[in-house]
Symmetry: C2
Subunit: 115 residues, 2 copies
DNA sequence: CCCATAGTTCGGGATTTCGGAACTAAGGAG
DNA sequence: CTCCTTAGTTCCGAAATCCCGAACTATGGG
């Protein structure tokens, strides 16, 4: 099993971050990891909202987030633990992630008018 | 010739913006339109940095930017004039575009160490 | 009318994404 | 150890996207 590649923070590219977060599922996963500090991968996230995401897709979503530099994954036994790199990324690109996550939060608010 | 569709600002989606700007060429085009206030399309932008972008590709880049709500295009005779919708978008999603454009600016700075 | 310029559309090859099925790794239970 | 179960990964073919040359359309002269 491969050793899980993580880019150094100075190699993180805005284009890769935007691409990773341009997918709503990935953005939701990242939001959750960031909010909860640490989240086990696939099974724990399988039901994000309504959509059931097959685990092969989840696996590649995590890979995209990881290789974009947004999360850090460690293997613990059979499962993955994912941590958000939000602080590192914010330090390098101030305002980027907050702007993006706020935008998603706003648009979710808009389309579900608080019940 | 189709009448150029522009989404209303309240229909603009973060995912579409991120997707549009996750392409470095489009991000550069958008940066330029925003910086210069108004830019004629394809031919005027054909040589962005080094890469020569064929005009069919440019045409679709402009379309992506337009449909994401980032620019507004008007036909004037045979050419297009493009205006940035940065203010509208910033009003709806505060910090989103500034975060993104700063991030690209920073990463460009990093990889070309000021000569 | 004819030509030139500015963009768009079309077509199809290249690349990326999606997701089911088969596979591998780690942790028990017996 | 063997068998099972759980957690993720890999593989691979179908579907969706992207890319860009070539052909086309629209506008403005001369």
């Amino acid at each position: 099993m491969r050793p899980l590649f993580h880019p150094a923070i100075e190699d993180v590219q805005p284009a890769a971050i935007l691409h990773a977060l341009s997918d709503p599922s990935r953005a939701a996963i990242f939001a959750r990891i960031t909010r909860e500090g640490c989240v086990e991968a696939c099974s724990a996230v399988a039901a994000l909202g309504d959509r059931v995401i097959p685990k092969s897709s989840l696996s590649s979503h995590f890979k995209v987030l990881r290789e974009a530099g947004l999360i850090r994954s460690e293997r613990h036994g059979t499962e993955l633990r994912n941590h958000s790199r939000v602080l590192e990324v914010e330090a390098r690109f101030p305002g980027l992630l907050t702007g993006i996550m706020n935008a998603y939060a706003r648009s979710h608010r808009d389309e579900s008018p608080s019940a």
